[in-house]
């Protein structure tokens, strides 16, 4: 008989205070508590982290890489969102 599959969890680690949690990989575990323990053993054996998040992989909604053109197109044409779009006379100094 095939065994039931262990749920998959994505692991995020904050390496230092002041930094955001960053995706480092995934683990299989029966529940959240065991996922945290597995993540600690798998991804922080050398002091890589101060905090771990685990999220069920199935709970993540991702954008489609094939659609990245239309999805991100609106930002490409809006150059007025960048400071260099605006001309300030040199006499005014750094702004």
């Amino acid at each position: 008989m095939a065994e039931a599959k262990m749920p998959l969890w994505e692991v995020f680690i904050r390496s230092r205070t002041g930094l955001a949690h960053r995706h480092v990989g995934s683990v299989h575990a029966a529940d959240a508590e065991m996922a945290l323990q597995a993540a600690r053993d798998t991804y922080t054996r050398r002091g890589e982290g101060l905090s771990i998040w685990v999220v069920p992989s199935a709970a993540i909604t991702a954008s489609d890489p094939a659609e990245k053109g239309p999805l991100f197109e609106p930002t490409a044409s809006k150059i007025y969102r960048h400071p260099s779009f605006y001309e300030i006379p040199e006499e005014v100094g750094h702004m």
Binding site: E3, M6, G25, S26, V27, R45, A66
Partner: protein, 333 residues
């Protein structure tokens, strides 16, 4: 370790790919872009990677066995702690790699099933026995040394999740090699018996370590495609030569001799030239007839079967806890 998988023929139905998509894919590879899990990729690229990454993962997991053999017999607490940490790392490396393979649409359970059924391969080196403590030194120094030589270029392999796993693994392997060399150094500076033990281990591990890089380029017909896809960045023979050049001076420093009468330094090229490798032995071991093939698989199967009730209990406990929490939520509403 273990680019041995790159030399095999890919099985399965031949798939005719859209030439436009193939060209766009190759252009991305040529531009050194990383391929990510949801990107379009040729079926043969996917299959090559699944096979290579899973064989690499299996090698890490099976690789725990020859060393695990010595944990309870390590000569000091310091050595025991280091060996435990090393074996735990190998388990971790197996997990990073299974996770990378899973991003290609195959489950860890399927991959594990292939290993336990004897359908998947792992590095030939782990089918040799660890007879003395000096073998633990040799494994760290030579086997992990060869692995590092193979793995450093894999940090730039074209598939993103594999490259990222390799970066983590390479960072950790350096300790493995150094602790192995330190064991060898201690033995070589010890009693004549200890030095003889170190020499005996080197005699047994040298040639199998050279075989870890896989068959010679002249017989490795699939290297070319893997190089074009930038899965692989150096050929087997190039990596083997790099390993020999790096390792021979380390062995001479230990005051040991290599079991190769043809080994000599070539002044003109700056390379160490070595004798002929016994490829018949390599083929025999890969085909399942090495000294420990049966024992290794039997140990993995036993561990898997005896752990089944734990996995089952953990899932049952999780289901019960979820049901209880749901009932409490409903009661509170």
């Amino acid at each position: 370790m273990y680019s041995q998988a790159l030399n095999e023929r890919i099985e399965g139905p031949r798939i005719v790919e859209d030439p436009g998509k193939l060209a766009a894919f190759q252009a991305r590879i040529d531009a050194e872009e990383r391929i990510e899990p949801n990107d379009w990729m040729p079926e043969a690229y996917r299959r090559t990677l699944i096979r290579q990454i899973s064989q690499h993962a299996h090698s890490e997991v099976v690789g725990m066995l020859p060393e695990g053999n010595w944990i309870t017999r390590a000569p000091s607490l310091r050595r025991k702690a280091a060996l435990l940490a090393k074996v735990q790392d190998e388990g971790g490396h197996g997990l990073y790699l299974y996770a990378a393979a899973e991003t290609l649409g195959v489950s860890r359970e399927e991959l594990y099933e292939q290993l336990l059924a004897g359908k998947a391969k792992y590095s030939s080196i782990f089918n040799y026995p660890t007879l003395t403590w000096a073998d633990i030194g040799c494994i760290g120094w030579l086997v992990d040394g060869a692995a590092i030589m193979n793995q450093i270029p894999l940090c730039r392999t074209s598939y993103g999740p594999y490259a990222r796993a390799m970066i983590r693994i390479c960072k950790e392997e350096s300790f493995h090699q150094r602790q192995g060399y330190e064991i060898m150094l201690t033995l070589c500076r010890g009693t004549p018996e200890q030095k003889a033990m170190a020499q005996d281990a080197l005699n047994r591990w040298w040639w199998p370590s050279l075989m870890m890089f896989g068959p010679p380029d002249s017989e490795s017909q699939h290297t070319e495609q893997s190089m074009r896809w930038k899965i692989k960045r150096f050929t087997n023979d190039e990596l083997r030569q790099k390993f020999v050049d790096a390792t021979v001076p380390q062995g001479l420093y230990l005051g040991l001799t290599f079991p190769d009468p043809e080994l000599r330094f070539d002044e003109a090229t700056g390379h160490w030239r070595f004798g002929k490798i016994d490829w018949e032995e390599f083929k025999r071991v890969l085909a399942g007839h090495g000294p420990c093939n049966r024992e290794r698989l039997a140990a993995r199967r036993k561990a898997h079967e005896e752990g089944a009730w734990v996995r089952e209990a953990a899932l049952a406990h999780a289901a019960k806890k979820r049901a209880r929490e749901r009932a409490q939520r409903i009661a509170a509403e």
